[in-house]
Structure formats: structure tokens, C-alpha cells
Amino acid sequence: MNFIVGAFKPACHISVTFSDGKNRKQIPIKKDNGQATTVPLFHSQDNITGTITVEPVSGKKVEHNGIKVELLGQIEMYFDKGNFYDFTSLVRELDVPGEIYERKTFQFEFSTVEMPYETYNGVNVRLSYVENVLGYRYVLKVTISRGYGGSITHFQDFVVWNYTPPPSINNSIKMEVGIEDCLHIEFEYNKSKYAILTQLYFTSPFETKLNCTSCCLLGQRLIAMLILNWNADLSRYHLKDVIIGKIYFLLVRIKIKNMDLEIRRRESTGSGSNTHVETETLAKFELMDGAPVRGESIPIRLFLSPYELTPTCRNINNKFSVKYYLNLVLVDEEDRRYFKQQEITIYRIGETQ
């Protein structure tokens, strides 16, 4: 009986303790089974040191072909669940093959580990399509290799955040102007006009304050023209940043009911024909109520801190990207929506900064 029970129970307990774990910041995460827990926070170039304790279930010996600890950076594509792409893999041998009868501890150390990417948890599993949802994590994997009964493995998660300096301005940011649904098609007719406008928009890329002039077009008709004047560092914001700006209405030919600013996140996974894109709106912030007239200027002040944002990720290991967009939406009195979208880069700065 004991034998049968023993066969389904792990033969030993494995626990990992980080040597400076108590001083490290604990970050709440959600585990696969939906339970919330906290894990320690590391940064790139950190020394990851600690002890691993192997404690056999009382009175049993654990025979093994060697014990090792691996530091893995993994990307898990949810459409391909269970398969991990390791982009970082470091191994430390802890013990030569032998037997463990009693509690035994091993020291380990990975010094100045290069962890270029941040931990990222994608769209909630239960709400998304399985195939293009992704996860992306750092993990310590302790493996006790055995000849029979398979290896005993233990995973210890931890979170990596990287504080970065503000990214340089990408001058090739594209602005998308469009009108949702069928109106979009009509808009396509006017590509030449649109080109002229984009040209106008990029005439002075080196200005610290870049004016984004944009025209919303409905069929052949020019319906509104406005200047967006964001804060100095165009299109890059840190996680606790405030979006400050002003919108000048140069021309208004529709009866605007209100104007919202949305923050949208776009995750794209895979490449080529297998690319999957998932977009979700994280913030919907009303900027204006009522119809402005020509010459009005509307202030923008949007605090980013209340929203669950992450830094922008571009093409992580050719597997996925996470991009953020500001979407300015004008709604007219007949509930038609006109929007213009612009990518922003979000980065993380240190707490003290």
C-alpha cells in the first residue's frame, strides 16, 4: 500500500531559497492554476544565488544520476501550449550521481546573468484565444535525474524587470488615420490626400515638440482637422508617466459629441503568415464633452499609473511583440466614430528615478 502511495507522491521535497530573497521586492503574479502568489523580483545583470534543499520523504532514499539547476528564459506560446522556447539557458551541476538519504542543501550561483527581456504575462487565458495567447517567463528549474521513475523537477518562478533609459525617438512612427467599418473603405479612395497629409506630418522630425496634423476624411469631404501637441518626448512614456498635451481644432465640420483617448495594446505572435494579432483596449479616457468650434484647444492629461501596462516589447526572439497605441476617437452625434491612432513606446524606469 505504502508502495503505491509512494509511487504517486514525489519521493522528495525540493525547495529553493534566494540568498537575498528577503530583501527583494515581491511581485504578485497569477499562477497557471489561477492562484495568486508573490515571487521575488530580479533585474538583468543580477547575481542569482541561493540554496536548494532536497529533503527525501521520511525514511526513503532518493537515488539519482545527478542534480542540476537551470536558469531558463522561456517563451510559451499558448497556441502551442506546453512547448517552451528557451532563449536563455544556464546550468549548474549540483551533485554527482548518488543517493540522498536525508535533507541535503546545495549552494548555487549564477553571476551577472544577462536577462534582456522582462517577464510578461499576456492576455488572460480564460478570455482569449488559446492559439495566440502567449506567456513569457523566467524560471529556475531544478532537476533530479533518475534512471527510473523519471526525473524529479521543481520550478521556481521569479520576475525580471528591466529599468531602461528612455528609448530614442523613432522617427519612422507611423500614424494611422482611419474610419471604422465601411467608412474605412471610402477612406482608402483618398490615399493621395492621405499621403500629402503624412508628408506634412513628417516635415520636421527633429522638433522636440512634434505637431501631428491629421485630417479625418469622410468620402471626399474633409470633416475635421486638428493638431495634436503631446508632451515633449513624443510617443514614449514610462509606466507611471502622465500624457500631457493639447488638441487644437483647426477645422470642424461634424457635430462632435465627445472625444476619448484610448490606450490599446497589441500583441502579435508568430511571424509571416502565422502572425496572430490580439488587440485590447486598456484605457478609455474622456477628453472632451460637447462640440468644439474652430480654434478651440482641449487639454490632455492622462495618468498612466492606474492602468496595467507593461513596457513595449519588440520582436522578442522573433516570437512576439507587444505594442501600445494611443487612439484618439471622435464620436459624432450620429455615433459615427473617427479615430486616429499612434504608437507609443512604454518603458520602465527605476522606482527612485
Partner: protein, 791 residues
Amino acid sequence: MISDGVVEDEEKWLSAGIAGLQQNAFHMHRALDSNNLKDALKYSAQMLSELRTSRLSPHKYYELYMRAFDELRKLEIFFKEETSRGCSIVELYELVQHAGNILPRLYLLCTVGSVYIKSKEAPAKDVLKDLVEMCRGIQHPLRGLFLRSYLSQVSRDKLPDIGSEYEGRDADTVMDAVEFVLQNFTEMNKLWVRMQHQGPAREKDKRGKERGELRDLVGKNLHVLSQIEGVDLEMYKETVLPRVLEQVVNCKDELAQYYLMDCIIQVFPDEYHLQTLETLLSACPQLQSSVDVETVLSRLMERLSNYAASGSEVLPEFFQVEAFAKLNNSIGKVIEAQENMPIAGVVTLYASLLTFTLQVHPDRLDYIDQILGACVKKLSGREKLNDSKATKQIVALLSAPLEKYKDIDTALNLSNYPRIMECLNDGTHKEMANVIVQNILKNKTCISTAEKVDALFELIKGLIRDLDGDTHDELDADFIEEQNSVARLIQILHSDDPEEMLKVIETVRKHILTGGRKRLPYTVPPLIFSSLKLVRRLEKQEESVSGDEASTTPKKIFQLVTQTIEALTSIPVPELALGLYLQCAEAANDCDLEPVAYEFFTQAYILYEEEITDSKTQVTSIHLIIGTLQRMHVFGVENRDALTHKATGYSAKLLKKPDQCRAVYACSHLFWLDDHDSIRDEERVLLCLKRALRIANAVQQMANATRGSSGSALLFIEILNKYLYFYEKGVSQITVESIQDLIKLIRNEMQGDASPSDPAADAFLASTLRYIQFQKDKGGAVGDKYMLITD
């Protein structure tokens, strides 16, 4: 029906809004009680979301707003407590900005902002600047107006004004306060104006009305500005006024311009207006042409007038800034700019300016004339005024100087005064003339030169003669009233210099003779009496100053008077003419001008013979003649005889016997003058009395014949009285016997069976007898005489 439906729906929406608001307010209170900041913010935002409705009219929306306002006060107190519990106000200021909907967000921001300023953790000016800037997010007029009104409300006691606890450290702290209010004002006005242009065209009127209800929200800002201590004249001049005016002019909205101009005029102090008159006025011609500028300017001038009236010490200020020139200039420009301004408006403007000028420059008649001149320029060359509003204003305009100076003299010096009168229609002209006359009468103004009289009568010609188209013949009460006023006016014209007075009379005569038949009966008599007064004055003077070579002689006047009375002949008012002739005759008598007096009597007799046909009039006229003639002493025997003869002749020829009788016994007086020995003809006195008795007898007989009873003894008693009179005077032909006979006769008449009882006659007789008894009792010479009479 439709509108009823809308109103009902509105009620429904309002009550739904209130219900939602109260529900969230309830949750908010619970959160406040348990110090739960997060929930408090959540529910307050939800509560304020009710204000996002577009369905309510301003009136109903205000109701909802006031409820939210009350709740926000509680929230403000909570925020204050929260900061004292250690919550950072800066954090709170950020926290409320996380709200997703803009309207609740901004209401909360203003509320926290108020606490922020109070905490003094940041300069008031910075917070205010941020708040007023953020409010731009509400572009919906109604919601924007109320939000900004809320901002204005919570900030008005927190402006960084001089002397305020929020005063900034830098020098131009007031400027910050002013800047804030100005900006809020500008934005509110923009929203308010925009309201007119949004929505369907068919509801334009309704929107106008709704906007009217909201105007005080905008105007309140100006009031706040006027309350800022630090706004001194300099700042008002340099910043506040130009900025406000800029907004007013540029908004190009009729309703806003009118209301705000009025607001400016009402809320800022008078001396500021005076010192910035030029700026303020320069805005007026730039307003929309449909704006009622005249009312605006009138109010301004009214204020300034009152200011000037408040004390003479302020007047130098007016002179210093040349207020009159500026106002005058500006009015000219406004009238020029607004081509289609109704004439009533133009006149209103000038009337106000005139009132102002009278108050400030009472001594500058040239200014007043200038105003009138400008008015004439505008009025001339068009149809006569028929617009009732305009005429009312004109009357006010023209009355103002009269009331001020209480002296028509001044008005007569204004060359443009008559020219304005020219522009009036007949009715108004008459009304104005009446005002002038009443003014003169009230103030007893003395007009003493012919020239002025001429001008005056030219001015009031509406009363003096028929103007074109005024042909109704009825003599209504108003007309009589007017003519009586003219008569009184003629009476008070007076000059100490007889020569000038004659000229005056001649002038008046010239004018009144144009008056036509309706007026002459009213106007000629006062003129005649005025002339006769002059004659009497000359008479007195001649006694004192002998040998005066004056060209004004009674004769000349009498000539004039004759001609004047002759004018009456064209109208059938012979009894009036007759009376006047007799008056003149008496005056001539006093001047010892026998031929003249005789001439007048002749005229009177001619009138009597030829024109007076009515028997009653004849009776009164003959008594007049007798009375006048009795007093004449200037006539020689021959003339007198001729006249008395005629008079007695007339008396005997009266239609009715009793009238004859009375006239005849009255004639007896013509032969007995107490103070003239030459005229004492006892025989003819007796003759008259006897003749009267005969006639009285005839009357009795006629009565017997026609009615079978004798008539009243009244005539006999009257004759008895005459007998007694002459007996007393010592006419020897009147004997005691004749008196006693007469008394007997009377008694018989009265006791006769056929005679009806006549209480009047009884009483008359009784008192006559009593008189006799009284004289007896008195004793003396007369008593002795009476003692002889026994019953």
C-alpha cells in the same frame, strides 16, 4: 400638445436624474462616514455623472446642479479632513483625475482644487490656472457653463487678491486673480454665445429664451472682478476693461453684447467709468447693429448723471475727462454705425445725453444746443414723427431743459429748440407746447420782451392755431383746458417798460389772430385785459411823469384793442365782444378819453342791436350796458343823454315783461350818481320807476288774464327796494306816500284770494320791512327819514 409632452418628459428626466443622484449620494455618504476614500471617489463620480445629461432645459438642469452642489460641499469637507489625516493633497489632486468621464472628473478636480488652495501647499494662482485650463474639456455649452460657474463659485473667496490670505508673494498677484477670472469669463461667454448656434434652427427663439436664463452665470464673473480689491483704476483701465470689451465685441452676439455692456456699466464704480469713458464708448459703435445700444448708453449716462448729482465735488472729474465731448462724439458714431437704428433710439440717446449735460454742465447752453442740433439733423428730412415711442422720447428730450432751468428763457435761447419742434407731428407738437406753457405757468416765468414772446408763441403754435390736418371742430375738455392755459400765459406776460409791453401785446395779437374761431373766444379776452392793464398803468404814469413823449399812448392801445375785438365779429360771440367793448369803454373813461369811450359804447350798441338776438342774452347784455354806463363820468351831457336814452329804449323793448320791468328800474340808476352832482335827474329817476311799476302791473294783469290768478308780487317788492334806495339817497320826488302806497299795493297783491303763495316773495317783503324797521331803530338823519314811513 407637443410642448406639453416635452415638459412632461423633462420632468420625468429630472426626477430620474435626481433619483440617480440621491442614490449615489447615499453611497457616497456611507463611504464618507467610513473614511473610505476609494468608494467616496467612485460614488461621487457616479453621482456627478447625472450632470452629463443633455435632456434638461437650463432651468431644470440648474435644479439638478444645485443638488449636486450641496453634495460636493460635503465632499469638500471630507477632502479637507482626509488631508488632515495625512493624505497628501497632491496625491488627492491626481487621484480624482483618474476618473474616466470628464465631467465628474472636472467637478471633483475643482472641489479638490479648492482644498488644495486652502492648504496653501501650492500658490493659489497655479492651482487656479490649472483648473481653468482643464475646464476647457467641456465644450458642451450648458454643462460647460455650469461647471465653470461651479469653479467660479468655489474659487471666489480664494483668489490671490491683495489682502487675501492667498495673496501671492510676487508683485502682480492681483494680476493672477484677474487673469483667472477673465479667462473663466471669456470661456463662459464663448460657450454661452455658442449655444445660440447649436441645434435646429426652428428652436432658435427657445434657445434665446434659455440663454436669457443663463446670463447671470456669465455676468457673475464681472461681478467677481468688480469685487477684487486689487483692481484699482489703473488696472481696470489697462487690463480689465480692454479685455472684457474685447470679448464682448468679438463675440458678435446680440444678446451677449447687450447684457454684458449693461453688466459692465452696472457692476463697476462710477469713477472708473468716467475715467475710462473713451474705451468704453469706443466699443459701442463696434457692437452688432441689432444690439440695443441706445439703452446701454442711456444707462451709462443715467449712471453718470446720478454720479454727478451725488455731489458737486465730483464735477471737476467730469470736466477733466471731457465727458461731454466724448459721449457726444460716441453717440454720433454709434448712430452712424447703426444705420437702421430706429429714430426712437436716436432720440433716446440724445435725451439721455441731454439729461447728463444738464446735470454736469448746467451752464453750458451751447452744449445743449449742440445736442438739439444733432437731433434736428437726424430728424429733419424725414416724415414727421409718428412713432409713439419716439415722440415720447422727444417730449422727454424737450422737457428736460425746461425742468432743469425752470425758465423758458433759456429754452428760447436755444436756436435748435424750435427746429426740433418743427419735426414733431401735430399731436406731439401740441403736447410739447402744453408742457412748455405749463412749465411757464408753474414757475411763473416772466417773459418780458416782444422778441421772446414771438419766439415762444412760434414754439407753442400747436396751441395757438390749427396745424394742418387738425380740423375737428369739437370743443373737448382738453382743448378748453389748453386754451385756458394759453389765456393764463397771456396774462402773465409782462414788461415794466410800457413801450415794450405794447410790443408784446402786438406780438401776441399777431399770433392769436391766426388761431381761428375756436380759439379767439379764449385768447382775445386775456389780451384785451392785458392791454387795458397797460392803459391803466400809463394813466398812472402820466399823472406822475407829465410831458412824457412816449409813443405808447392809451389812444394807440385803444385802437389796437378795437381792432382785436373786431376780430371776434367773425365768430358769433357778440356777448363776449360786447362785454369787452364795455370794459374798454370803462378804461377809456378812466383815461378821460370821451370820444374813445363813446366809440366803444357805440360799438357795443351796434352789437346789441345787430347781433344779440337771443332774449336771455339781451337781458344780461342790457344789464351790463346799464351797469357800465352808470359808472361813466367822462361823457358830456349830450353824449350821456344819447347813450342813456338808447339804454332805456333797449330796456323797454325787451321781450318779456318782467325783464323789461327789471331793466327799466335798473335804468333809473343812470340818472342818479351819488358822486356826480351833474348827474342827478330826479324826474327821470321817478319816471323810470313809475314806468317799471306800470310794467309790473301789466305783468299782473296778464297773469290774471292767462291763468286766472295774479302773479308774484316779486317785481313790486323789487321796485319798492328801488324806491327805498332813492328815498334814502334823498331823491325828493320819491315821497313817503308813494312808498306807503306801494307797500299797501304789495300787501293787497299778496293777500288777494287769487294770489298764489310765494315764499320767496314773502321772505323778500319781510326782510325789506325789517330793513325799514332797522333804519328806524338806528335813528339819526336816515332814521328820522324812515320814521316817516308808516305802514
